[in-house]
Assembly symmetry: C2
Homo-oligomer: 376 residues x 2
Amino acid sequence: MPDAFSFRLLATDDAARRGEIATPHGAVATPAFLPIGTQATVKGLAPEAVRATGADIVLANTYHLMLRPGAERIASLGGLHRFMNWPWAILTDSGGFQVMSLSHLRKIEDKGVTFRSHLDGAMVELSPERAIEVQHLLGSDIAMQLDECLQLPASQGELQRAMQLSLAWAERSKRAFERTGGTALFAIVQGGDDLRLRAESARVLTEMGFHGYAIGGLAVGEPQQVMLRIVEAVASALPAERPRYLMGVGTPEDIVEAVARGIDMFDCVLPTRNGRHGLAFTRFGPINLKNARHADDPRPIDEASSSRAARDFSRAYLHHLVKANEMLGAILLTTVNLAYYQALMADMRAAIAAGTFADFRAAARESWARGDVSCS
Amino acid sequence: MPDAFSFRLLATDDAARRGEIATPHGAVATPAFLPIGTQATVKGLAPEAVRATGADIVLANTYHLMLRPGAERIASLGGLHRFMNWPWAILTDSGGFQVMSLSHLRKIEDKGVTFRSHLDGAMVELSPERAIEVQHLLGSDIAMQLDECLQLPASQGELQRAMQLSLAWAERSKRAFERTGGTALFAIVQGGDDLRLRAESARVLTEMGFHGYAIGGLAVGEPQQVMLRIVEAVASALPAERPRYLMGVGTPEDIVEAVARGIDMFDCVLPTRNGRHGLAFTRFGPINLKNARHADDPRPIDEASSSRAARDFSRAYLHHLVKANEMLGAILLTTVNLAYYQALMADMRAAIAAGTFADFRAAARESWARGDVSCS
């Protein structure tokens, strides 16, 4: 495997870790949050606007891009970085999660998944080898193995079967990655809410050896305390010298709690999707701009924010834009939310480096619980 | 009337005019194009992005803003400039045009218009006095008189009636404006495609005395040659020392031809609306990004553009965004189009100042007619 990828652990504070991932497309400071760029765009934001929120890396969805515009087309246009004009790091998922959630007709076999495209109804095959090939065509900095992700609750038998299948696919993904070449390949620990299965998955994947390790199959319907118990157990079972990535998580509180348990990377649709639906994440908890109480409120979302979207526009104006279904409402609130998430990550990185993460965590909780200041 | 508004004629080249309007919110170089900010936002662009395209002034719609969020509310929040965070000049229309085009139930009487809100069905009255009051509450730099605008073709009798009503409303608008105060009030010449009615309207309005004169009731279904004949006749009948504004026009060619006939200001939904629907305006004519021929085209829209939206993204990527219905497609193409329109205005201003407008006009026509260069 090439040397372009590396992970350095810069500081620890109890289980929390401050690190840096090197990629051919720049450094990623960890703990890191990855905005979702499903169809080769973070919805509503030009790449420079995404960068301005503080993002070092975005996530793009293999499932969507292989169907439209097609991985071979993106490769012939110079790869995903050039296609979307994002010169920084990109992580691609394997496509497996969307096959499960978006495609109604699908068949899971040992060889891979066959599914019907949600766009044109065509039958498409996705094997561990094809998932790696597609991610190679995209030019991903961090590729993910194909895995099978179950909704929770699920039976122990189902969890075991899916975990074992994911291990077999991890092995095949690794062999395929070694053939195609690429920057980095992460494995995905599965096993649902069964700690014994999770431990087995983590152990076997660590023995195989990957550039990093993700925890999949969480934030799929289980209570937060269940998620955090699994995260804590799996993180402590993974090698300290590799980055750990909690997929699809989460709220600001989820993220702080997972960082406290040793997680380095996160992705989630919440800041972007909720922003499009009128919700702002702030230091003082979420604000629903649809609410009529904002109609006459001249205050910005957060005058102390580093983001102009949070400082330069009144809540009254944002309320108006959201009610009038104006694109600019979605754009500004997406910006506000991504800037808040990135500021949260930066603050955590600083606290870990300073050895004050416990204080930061307590202060963040207190601030969220306090809620938004009342209207003047 | 206050002195904050002025118009200086800096150069002429045959009938074409290069000028500058002073307002309390900055200078407006003319010929000027006003992007449409209907609901207190140019759809899809933050104010700084609108400014970056080269706009000195935007148009906001009185009809929409009086219904939502309400003119009194905007006034209590510090006025429209602060509300939408646009510190540059704003022209507001009178609301009359949207009453005619958006509201199905309406009654036009001498006293004004009564209509049913398209939002909540409430009956709303709009008189010349109320239109001025609303625009004063918004804090408009250039207010427009209430007028009645007919679709063409229309009978001579109907055209005469609407023109006379608009004259009476102009007189009342002026008196109301003198009571409320404000920066500038423009009258609107009506009379449809009847040159005699147009001349009468222009003569009476000039005698009344306004800060500027608009030509309304064009670009409402008539052929371009009819529109230009009216424009030429009306422009030459208006006082040289006041700005002339052709409302709701138009394509790049319409605008160049109207500048050649002495028009100073334009507004139109084409660059923004068509941008949202996948169409790019360029030096070489329009490009429909929906077309499959762009799917593999690595070229930008126009590498010589001053706009990064036109330089930094491939046609293949824009095609993908448009096909995938991604907001960023609308955002980038709106930016491309507004930047092209503003560059066209800037080029015309330079040509008029240099006395080379006839050459510029011929070269622009040739370039549009040449069409887009073929795929490589």
